[in-house]
Amino acid sequence: MDIFLTYLKVFAVGGLVCTIGQILINKTRMTSARVLVTFLLAGALLEAVGIFKYIEDFGKAGITIPITGFGKSLAAGAIEGAKQGLYQACTGGLAAVAAGLSAAIAFGFIIALISKSKPKST
């Protein structure tokens, strides 16, 4: 029963994040690039002021799977690095997301290379 509640919270928080994004798209006609940038910066900002971990404790993957989690990792890495010095403060963000970014670029390149372009039929 506990696990059921956890997944329900993940669903609710994740759905809510996407709902806010959809409302932004509907109201302001934002392009998807702008929505992604907005939510990324929101995630980074929430982590920088220390609110993100409370949302994460409640919603788990509901807030870390959306792009807000990417922003959170960038900010968390930078904050972690800042404790060691100025050099690590500047490199910590990218170091924290190295796995995800490498995966996105490498998988993206390989899959785009072997996929055939299809006419858009929607």
Partner: protein, 148 residues
């Protein structure tokens, strides 16, 4: 006049019902993708007990990015995106989709200036803003750390 008012009323109400539907779809599919991510994270934590939470989180991101890229390559993700809107854009799978989708489209213009360059037409702004924000946050925290 009555007809005009009615026309205004239709104009005002008809997009709203569509808006409601898009919001509901975004909620349902966005939530579902996050639940799939949570499931992968739980399974990975069971399979790799000596990995800490941070590494499990990063690995979950890698798995979701792989799935997003694969589904885009197969042409499935864009079909989901047609209904889901932000529900498919905001999760990390949508970030992968934003890389693969233009890359496939511009593949015919050559590998270097088509595929490799256009990969970042949406992901580029995301990476630039994210990295700049992290550097600023890092420097601010470093400076605060000097005085506290």
């Amino acid at each position: 006049m009555d007809k005009k008012e009615y026309g205004e009323l239709v104009k005002q109400t008809s997009p709203k019902t569509k808006e409601g539907k898009t919001i509901l779809c975004a909620f349902a599919i966005g939530g579902l993708i996050c639940m799939i991510g949570q499931a992968f994270s739980d399974v990975l934590a069971l399979l790799l007990p000596d990995f800490d939470a941070k590494k499990i989180g990063a690995l979950t991101g890698v798995v979701m990015i792989f799935l997003g890229s694969l589904l885009t390559g197969l042409g499935v993700y864009d079909k989901i995106g047609y209904y889901a809107g932000a529900g498919s854009v905001l999760p990390i799978t949508g970030f992968a989709n934003s890389i693969v989708s233009p890359a496939i489209e511009y593949n015919k213009e050559g590998i270097v200036f088509g595929l490799m360059a256009k990969m970042f037409s949406i992901a580029g702004p995301v990476i630039v803003s994210g990295v700049c924000a992290s550097v600023v946050i890092g420097i601010v925290y470093y400076v605060i750390g000097l005085f506290v």
